[in-house]
Structure formats: C-alpha cells, structure tokens
Symmetry: D3
Subunit: 225 residues, 6 copies
C-alpha cells in the first residue's frame, strides 16, 4: 500500500473541496474527464480542505472507485480528518454491511424511512438508490422516500419501519410496548438492537448532511430505475 | 496487555447483562461489594449477553474504572459485540475528547442541549454531570438539562446551542443562514463541522438509549452538585 | 364523437375498478396486453364501480391515452361519477394548464412541494415526473420531492415554494407579510392568486389520494430520469 | 337570461373589488342602500378586478341574491375569472348540494370541523352559520367551530369528524384502519369518498381564503343564533 | 348575611350536581321554571356533590344571579369545595376585574385568544360572549374565537395577543425579545405582568374545563350577537 | 402580629426587586450575610417594586424563612401586589398542601411532569427538589425532570402522569376515555379533580415563570441530592 500512498499529496490550501479530494484519490494527476463525484460542486457548504488519506482510507477510496465507479460524497466530506473518516467508515460498515439478523435491504429500508422523516436530501438519494438496487424493485425505493406507509410491506417490515419512524420523530416516547411489537413481529433481542442502531446512525448522518448541505453524487439518481 | 486479557473469561450463557459485564472486567472473580455500575439493573431492556472484551476494550474499561471509578453503562451496553463497542468508542473519543476549536465543556453543553430536546434520560444524566464538572457550575448543568434558554450564556455559546437545538428538532430546515449565524458568532469552518458532528452524535446516542431503555450509572446523579 | 360514445358500455356491476375503467375506455373489448394503468391494482382502496363515461370525458380519456400513453389513475378513480370527474378535470386543467403568470413548470414545482409536505405518494409520483419532464432536470424533481430547500432555486421560485409550504403546513398563519414577500419576489396580484390556488388544489388532491390510498400509474416512476 | 346579461357591464379598471362586483350583479346601477356583502371591505387582500360575469354566473349570483339575500363573498372573490369561478361553483355544488349518502348538515359539519383545524375565519363563519341553520341547533355550530369533541355527536358523526380532522392534520397517516372505522360506523364506499372529498375540498378552500385574507359577509354572524 | 345562610341547606347525597347547586342558591326550594344554568346537564363529567356555600360564596352567587341572571357554571363546578371556590374567585376577580393598565376588554381578548389556542369550549363560549359585550362588536368576539389574526387589531392589541398565543403554545421559548416587543408596543412593566398573568390563568382554566368536560351556560351563546 | 408589621417599611422607589423584598421581610435592616434568595439577581425580568407586605403575608414570609431557611422567589416575585400574592398563596396552599386523595409527593410529581413538558426552569428546580425530598429518592426527581417515562412508577402513578402530560400538551383532546383510565387506575372523582387542578395550576405557574424569566432560589439545586 505504501507505493500508492506516496503518490497522495497533501492538500496545501483550501482548494475547492471535491477537486482536491479527487486529486487525493487519483494521486494528484489531472482528472481528464468529468468524474461522477464532481457534479454537485462543492460537496459541502463548509470550506474544509481534504487531508492526506491514510493508507487504509486511500485503499478504501480506491475500492469504492473500482466497485461503485465513484467515491460516495459523504466519504469525501469526512476526508478532511482521518480520525473522523475512519471512525465513520468503521461504524457504517459494521452496521450496514456486517453480520445481522436484518438483511442489507432491510437496513437500507430503515435508512430511507428515517431519512424521509428527517427530509435529508443526501441520504434519501444515496440510500433510496440502494433500496432500489437491493430489492430490484424501483417502486419500493420511491415509496419509502415518499411515505413508507404507501409501500406494500410484510408485517415484519412494517413493524420495523413503524419503530424506525417513531424512534426518529419522538425518541422520548419509545417504551417497552414498542419493543414488544418488534418481538411479536419476529425480531430477536439482537435484531432490535440492530434496528435501533441503524435508526440512530441515520439520525446522526441526516444531521451531518443537513448541517453541511451535503450533496449526493449525481450518479445515484439514475441508478436502478 | 496480554496478561490482563487472559483473566477475562468468555461469557458462556445469557447471564444477566450487567453481572456478566462486571465479570468480564474483574476476570470472573466474585464482586465483593456493590459496584457503582450495578445500581440500575438491568442496564438495558434487551437481553444481550456481554461478549469477551477485546484486549483494547478490556484496557479501556479498566482505565474507566481507575479514572472514573466505574465503567459508564453505555459501554457495558455496547459490550455484547466488540466491533460495535470499538467503533462507538473511537467515534466518541474523537468527537468529545479529540482536538477541536470547541472546549470539552462546550461539547458537553451541546450533548446536554440535544439530549434535553430529545428528553433522553441516560444522556441527560451522564452529560449533565459532565457539564457540572467541567464548568464547576452546578447550575449550568441543571439549566441546560431543563431549558438551555434559561442559562446565562455568552453570545457564542448561545448561538452554538440554538444551532444544536434547531438541527436536532428540524434538521430539514437548516440552511446557509444558520451556518452564517455561527460564523458571525466567531466559529470557523471546522468548528461548524464539530458542532454539527456532536449534535449528530447525540441524536444517535439518544436514540440508542431510548430504544433500549438504557439506565445511567447512579453515581452520575450526585456528581459535582 | 357520437360514434365512439356508442361503444362505451355502462358498467353493470361492481367489477374490479381499474378493469371496468379500461373497458369503458376501450369500448368493452378485452384488453389484450397489460395496459400501463393496470399495474397497481386496485387503483383505490374503495370499491366504486366505474360509471359510463360522458362523451366529453370519454374523449378526454382517449386524448390522455394518445398523448400520454395512459390515463392517469386519478381520472380513473374519479370516473365512478361524471359530475365529480368533470368538475375535477375542469378545475385541474384551468389551474395547471390555463393561462397564468406562472409557468407550467412552476405550477408543477408547487404541486410537488405541497405534496412533499403532505407526504402524498400519488401526487409526488405523478407531479415529480412532471417537474422532471418540464424542467429537463431530473435532479430538480427529486430535490423537491425530498426537500425543496435542497434545490438551487431562483429567489422568485424559492419565495414561491416557501409560501406554498407555509400555506400548506400552517394556513392560519399566512398574513400580509407573506403576500408582501411574494410581491417583492416579483409576483403580481394575479400570480399570488394562482400560487395560492395551486397550493390549495394540491392540499385537496393530496387528501383525496391519501384518504383512498390512490396508486399512481407505474409508468411515472421511470419518466424523464 | 339575455336581457339581464346585456345590462352587465364589463369592469374597465381595477375598481375596489366588492363595489365593482355589486355593479356587475346590479347592472351597473348605483346601489342605494348598504348591501350585506359590502360590510368588510375589501373582500380579499389582492387587487383583482372583477370580470364580466358569464350568463351562467350572472344568473347564479342573482339566484344567490334572491334566495340568500346576498352573494357569498367567496363567489365575488373568484369572479375575477369566469373559468375559475365556474369550476369552483361546479365542484362546490356537486359536493355540498348534490346527491350523497351524507346529509347536507353532515357535509357542513365536516366543513366546519376541517376549517376549525385550519383556523379559517371565512369558512368557519360561513359554514358555522350553515350548521346552525341546517341543524336548528345553534350550539352545535358553535361547538364544532370551537372543538368538535365538545359536541354530543352520534357514533356515526363522531367517526366522520374524527376521520375529517385526521385527514386534515396528518393526511400521510390515513390508512386502511381509518377507512375501516368509517365502515364500522355504517358508512359505505361511496360515503367514504364523499367524506374524503368534502374534507379535501375545505382543505383547499381554507387555503384560498387564508392566502387571500378573504372576509365573510357580515350577515353570517347573526344567522340562526 | 347570616339570615340568608340559614336557608342554605347542606347537600346530603351525591345528587346530580347542577340541581343541588341550584338548591343551594335558592335555599332548597323547588325550582319552578327552567333556570339558565340547568341547560347542559351535567355541568362537569365528574360526580362531585356541591358543598354548602360559605356565606361569602352564597352572597357572591346571589350577586351573579341578580347581575347576570345566572351563576356561571364554572362557579357551580368549583362549589364542591369552598376553599377551592374561594381561591378561584379571588384570583379571577383580581385578574379580570381588578385595577390594571389593561382594559377589561383587553383581558377578555387575551382570555379568548388563549382559549382558542387550547380549543377550550367552555372558555371560548363564556369569554367570547364577554368580548362581544365589552366591545359592542360581535365580529371581534367571533374573530378571536376563530383566529385572532383575522381581527383588525391595533398594534398594541396585536402585540398583546401575539405574546399571549406564544406564551400559551410554547412557553419555553419566551425570552427578553418577547418582553421587548410588548414594551415597544407601549406596555409597561406591570402591564406585562398582567398580560402574562391573564394568559397563565386561562391556561389553567382551560385545562380544568377540558379535564372535566365543563359545559358553559347556554345563555352565553346568544349574548351580544 | 402588629409588632412585626410595624417594622416593615414601605418600599418607596423601584429598588432592585429582591433587595427591597429582603428589606420588607427583615424590617429594613441591612442584610449582613448573603441570603439564599439573593443568588440569582434579579428574580424576574420585570422591574416591579415590592409592595409593603400585608400582615398575613409578612407572617407567611417569616414562616417560610424559619421553616425553609428562605422565601421562595416566586413569592417575592408576586410581592409587588398583595391581592395577587394572597390569591396565589391561597390557591397554592390549598392545592399542594390541603387535604386530598393524592399524597403531597404525588402532587409534586405532577408539578414536575407538567413543568418538564413546558420546560419551565423555575418550577423544575423548585418542585424537582420537592420530589427528591418527599420521596427520599433523588433519582425519582431527576427522572421526572428529564422524562417521566424513565421512572419506575406504579400503575397508579404512571396513569396520573400520563394524564398530566396529555392535559398539558393537548388539553383539547382530553375526553371521557382519559378520565376512565384514571378511574381504572384507582382514582376517585375528587382525585381526578385534584389531578386536573394541579396540572392546571402548574400550566399557569410555568407560564408566569417563563413570561417573567423567574429565577429559582439557588438553594434548591443542592437539596436532597
């Protein structure tokens, strides 16, 4: 990994954020054609110069580029500080991609239902695309973006999203009865933790995105329609 | 660190959570006097057996015990899964204890103002105590718990908490004007990120706590009165 | 028009709504391939047999079929009663397609902003597609669906949507100052009426759609992406 | 009708709205005594000159004058444009006076309950009077204006108004269970449509009235006390 | 006062509340014609037998009967306990009838604006009548019942009611700026106290009335129309 | 009582409120050491000179001083006018200290739950201390301040606080079903009145305190921790 790291140049002044981020990923070479991430400039409304990517994060960004064709803007946004980027990535990957009684689709459904309650443009765009992709059902993504009650959900998934939206809108009112409803819908103790943790995580992410006017990669909009 | 790790025994069945967590910390030896963490039993309303602490986390728990005299219950709650505990601790420590233009007191003030908006018993208790300690002003902690508008704040701190509460209650409505108010109150770009990130983090933590009925260590209540 | 009208047979029993509506349009002949309107069955959650289309409405439905390739489900939903269908169509066409100081795109933007506030699945789907089409900007449609504050709007259009959302969410609080903001953004007296009337109309339509669980034609989802 | 129509003169400049409307009705002749509609001047806060009434609308206004003793101000407000006036009148008359499983009183009760939720001065005044008249029970009108829960309603009517207020306040939350409650209270499929349509219509009218500061004819206040 | 007191008989069992109250006032003699207070039976939804009126309260009830022609039902409701009745009457009379920089009409306007925000049937009825009477303007009473923003108020009175409604709906958000607005509208320190105290009092009364389903004397509805 | 009364000097100019109040209590003699009530200066944000205490109120203040060691600031705040102070004290003492089926602790629990809903700094501080004292359970006080749902309450007390918070937040929605829940939890008719009256009283007090920025005596913060 060292070889690649050498090519990553520190950003020495407050250059437009996403351009310097691209440079960080590409090793400072000029970008010769419009990159997918460059479409909504700047990525956030705060002027925070991108830091030198740590080896681990540089590898992760390259993996994103290879696998997705782009680096999600949220990662570029956090890339001004490696400690913040790394802890965000660690938590995100554990929650959304780690082992769980919830399918990846279900976790994305929660992400979208929470983000709809909070009207978060960034997360609705990125995770709406994920629901469309994981489900192979473009309508499902749209429905949860717009009003999850309009989706034709199983009882299990409806209970899951009802809990998600209640915990988002009125966390102070969640009590034993709410956990019982999840148990009756078939969720185990660990599942309830996982639902709660995903709901909680997107209540965090939605607020970072709204606070900074974070803009999603344009490529999401057309995915899996 | 190995030496200590050997003493930590894996939990082999779903024992009452806080007892097994204690055992994990103490190396399975019987606890001879009431430990501060055992006061509100159980710590959460989900039955999740504590996992074997990783070496890093075992060390961290011991450090808590030495420095604070107890392990905060939130850590015990997350200790059913090391990946979750570690990413939580990493993010928490970076945000609340890492380098920032915000003082530690200011970050705790944000934690309490957010938790008051969300009426989170756990976080109000733990971070209310922190505000009392860092500020040396017991009233300040009470005031932010009850209604931050009642506290006699500097313009800077008032702007910070106004932003925190707006981002908590109506994240969709945060726009350029809100960031401008922070800039006019003297906050820089990185400060605005840090304020936002702390607000966001406690919107996450509040929801994990509410979703699981997490109970704070009783010791907090009497601290720094 | 007479010739076509003769072929329209009255619906004699409470057949599944959308099938009988198709028959009404097609003159009772069997539908040989899946029609676009048939995708989300039934169109509404009330069992209301489609009435015989009046000559004017039969012509209008054919025009929809020719021009759009489908009859919008809202029209099929109202087709159980000609007086209701006709007054709905008359008001809709005057407001959305008639002469106005507002462009058709602007009227659709209002429709979507209102429907987003009310989280109306039908109207967000149908009018979100219209914003994408009229604007040639797929992102704009998405942004207004998700949170109009995320769209990069002119001052005029921002003032227009701010008014729309306030009038939707808290009509009792609209006063002279709100009208003055529209005037300062360049709107005339008649424009203010038109903005208000479109806002009001979609506050009506959203509620008919929500009350009846109206399902949009699936074809909208893929339009103008 | 021709004879009367000839006497209606077009309004040639932006005269005070309600005066020109009177002239349109009366054929341009001076009004010799205070007309009931002239009491709250101007009728709306937008300067929109009244158009020449179409023959149908002129006849309708005369009918209002004969039957009610005045032309409701909402009609005068819409009279700047015949297409808008006509589609409003068509929809209103079908909904409120047409055939329905709901009595006219029940439709007016819905109008008032919705307008109370939206705190619409115009509609509460005009339709509050209608409830008092249709019911012969002055208290009933007052109660629904103030808080429909204070009225002694039948189960049927209580279910109807509960649905009306929920659909007004939180349309996104209306689901199958809400329709089922109406069915259990004795309402049929068409009745549910009619309830919904009246609720929806007044959510429209309330917003046109609030957006334009529409003033009710003073005569309503004293009716049927 | 003794002579009158002798005629007041203690109520010996839980008779229907308003009947026993009447008996208390009339000295136990049969009521020969429908008394104004008897119209909405029972006065409250709690079964609380009326106590023997103290001499002071008996005199006060007689004074009400002579001056108003009826005893306001709120007094009958409190008459199950003399200490409660007396402290209520003392506070009410001081606030609403005592010396103040606010006119009696202004105090009643506040009462109605607060009760409208809280949708209190009892208080809107009784104090709506008072506004109509004191102002000699029946419309003013109706407007404040329905939406005080629709009333044509002086700047002073508008500032007063804006404060009243804010203090009612979101007391936690009232701060120095709100008091300053009152000062700029011409109110002195004592006036601000009086406004606040009247707002506060009706936030109390509204809740006693709503909690007990208190019914106003029917006579109010027709007063000063 | 005369002897003491003579020593109380009238306040002759708008001196700083709490100083003159102290003088009124102490008979104008210089206060030689910091009095507990002087800690948060001034007590309210309105400049209202303290009046000469009536004999009854002077005795009451002395009793407070002797029994509590301080005069609660709310009393000092009302002391600009004896009629207001006396009616407040009479109502308060009857409700909170008089005979009732509710224990004094229960009444204080209601006071705190209401004040938490209204986020009233003064009342949360003063009555939070009372709950801690009466219950001998410091946590209980904290829990009701923060979120009463976090407290381990009996069914009776939970029903009581649920009613209290609903009546505070949405008084218009309280109906027979809510009173029935109290009856089923074991409360009698008079108990329901008492619960309602205490809820109502603190909805009043919270608003007087918020409207005037009333500051609690600092001594409360440390009591019964």
């Amino acid at each position: 990994m060292n070889k690649i790291d050498k090519t990553i140049k520190p950003v020495t002044k407050a250059a437009p954020k996403e351009k310097s981020a691209l440079r960080a990923i590409k090793g400072g070479k000029p970008v010769t054609k419009p990159a997918p991430m460059a479409d909504d400039t700047p990525i956030i409304a705060l002027n925070l110069p991108t830091a030198k990517l740590s080896p681990g994060m540089a590898a992760y960004f390259r993996k994103c580029q290879e696998k997705l064709g782009f680096v999600p803007n949220v990662l570029v946004a956090y890339a001004f500080d490696m400690a913040k980027l790394e802890s965000f990535v660690a938590m995100y990957n554990d929650l959304m991609l780690g082992e769980s009684g919830l399918s990846k689709l279900e976790r994305e459904m929660i992400a979208v239902a929470v983000s709809s309650q909070n009207r978060c443009y960034y997360c609705l765009t990125a995770h709406g695309a994920a629901v469309r992709q994981y489900s192979g059902n473009p309508l499902l993504g749209e429905q949860i973006v717009m009003n999850y009650r309009a989706a034709r959900l199983s009882k299990r998934q409806r209970a899951m999203l009802d809990f998600a939206v209640k915990l988002t809108a009125a966390p102070w009112s969640v009590e034993d009865g709410d956990r019982e409803k999840l148990r009756r819908a078939g969720f185990g103790e660990r599942d309830i933790w996982d639902i709660s943790a995903v709901v909680a995580f997107f209540n965090m992410s939605n607020r970072v995105a709204s606070a900074t006017d974070m803009r999603p990669n344009t490529v999401y909009h057309g995915q899996a329609r």
